[in-house]
């Protein structure tokens, strides 16, 4: 009985940890692609690098927030357990 309860809690906490890790992977892939395209665009046309850099930072912030949604949920799970 106690073992079953402990198992539930530890599974939940493990799920929270894996979720946070997956969220980080998602953010990494998304921002990496943005950065890659930005580098490519800047290499093709160095005059536009100021505008490209500005747009890159803004979109990176948006993607990062999507990953942080998941992180906050994982934190909530951890604190409930």
């Amino acid at each position: 009985m106690l073992l079953a309860l402990l198992m539930d809690v530890s599974l939940a906490v493990m799920g929270a940890g894996i979720g946070a890790g997956l969220a980080a992977i998602g953010a990494g892939i998304g921002i990496g692609r943005i950065g890659g395209s930005a580098m490519e665009g800047m290499a093709r046309q160095p005059e536009a690098s100021g505008k490209i850099q500005g747009a890159m930072l803004i979109i990176a912030a948006l993607i990062e927030v999507a990953a942080l949604f998941a992180l906050v949920i994982c934190l909530l799970i951890w604190t409930k357990m």
């Binding site: 912030a61 927030v65 949604f69 906050v72």
Partner: protein, 350 residues
């Protein structure tokens, strides 16, 4: 023409000072010494204590164990007892710092929420730490903008000086890069709201990064309120084309319109929800990351870890300053996009 409408006249200054003095008259700063307890350091408690709202404003703890705390007023309204006002110092338990004392049937639970010991219901409209931060942000916003306006009056026709020259490029950036591309000739109608929104979020984010400050824009109630304002403004100024696109989408076969209708209706509500959650999560997660890295040094009890974590924290703090500006920009940008979509003129290209 008098300048009392643009500059802070003497009477206004006195009123502002009196208001500030009244707030501080209801609270008192106490320095109390706590017995030093040897207990296991819990990073989760520290982090949540720093990012959540509280009835007292704990600035710092001196090395000798004294807590510098500002005890904020508690204002409660219940139907049987009416309005009750007292300082939250009454909850401070001298004997045991971690439990709260009971006063008049009210006490604080472990999370710092005010509850009634006999389970009565009441309205808690206290001045908490976040409310004080809200007042501070609003006061700062009013002071800065009024002095910029006074600067325009004084330097009519001349180059801007002082704080006017610092704020003016930011205002022009908001007007020309964010509002004008999305609103076109309706810019002047919505520009006051959008400028207020931008500067309020920017000041709120930046003030929340100061040490000892409260986490204003990381409070989901605050961001929800801002998103509700956007929701109201968007839907009230929505013209016929906007509503007809939602309920009776043109250029789409008839059976598909019944499917699109609930999706569009949900779409009206997901926009403010996404605005709320985006700002809340960005700021709160930033604070959590900063606090976790600082706690690393305390968990490992090592100077090397402390030095490295301080450098990393410095770097991430600079990123958080950037995020503060970017989140203000993104909130204002999306708001102007939504208002632009709602007030767009009907184009005859269907």
């Amino acid at each position: 023409m008098s300048d009392s409408c643009l500059s802070l006249s003497n009477l206004r200054k006195k009123r502002l000072l009196l208001t500030a003095a009244l707030f501080f008259a209801f609270s008192a700063v106490f320095a109390s010494s706590e017995p030093h307890e040897e207990e296991k350091f819990n990073p989760a408690d520290l982090i949540f204590h720093h990012i959540s709202d509280a009835h007292e404003w704990h600035f710092a703890t001196t090395p000798s164990g004294q807590h510098i705390t500002l005890y904020l007023p508690v204002i409660l309204y219940s139907s049987d007892r009416g309005l009750e006002t007292f300082s939250s110092h009454v909850f401070h338990n001298e004997a045991d710092a971690h439990t709260s004392a009971i006063y008049n049937g009210y006490t604080l639970d472990e999370k710092g929420h005010l509850i009634a010991t006999d389970g009565r219901s009441f309205y808690d409209i206290s001045i908490t730490k976040n409310v004080m931060m809200l007042f501070l942000t609003a006061f700062l916003l009013v002071a800065v903008m009024l002095s910029v306006a006074a600067g325009y009056k004084k330097n009519k026709g001349k180059a801007p000086k002082g704080i006017q020259s610092f704020i003016e490029p930011i205002i022009l950036f908001v007007r020309d890069e964010i509002v004008k591309p999305n609103l076109g000739h309706k810019t002047d109608k919505f520009l006051p709201y959008l400028l207020t929104l931008f500067f309020f979020i920017l000041f709120g984010n930046l003030l929340g990064l100061l040490p000892g400050a409260g986490n204003l824009t990381g409070n989901i109630a605050v961001t929800l309120t801002l998103a509700v304002f956007t929701f109201i403004i968007t839907n009230v100024s929505g013209n016929g084309a906007y509503w007809s696109h939602i309920f009776w989408t043109p250029d789409v076969p008839l059976p598909l319109r019944a499917v699109i209708l609930p999706v569009e209706i949900i779409g009206i509500f997901t926009k403010p929800i996404s605005l709320t959650v985006r700002l809340f999560v960005a700021i709160t997660a930033g604070h959590i990351v900063l606090l976790s890295l600082i706690c690393l040094a305390f968990v490992f009890h090592s100077y090397v870890v402390g030095t490295f974590s301080s450098l990393v924290v410095l770097f991430i703090y600079l990123i958080e300053l950037l995020v503060a500006g970017i989140q203000a920009y993104v909130f204002t940008l999306f708001t102007s996009v939504y208002i632009g979509m709602a007030t767009a003129e009907h184009h005859d290209d269907h």
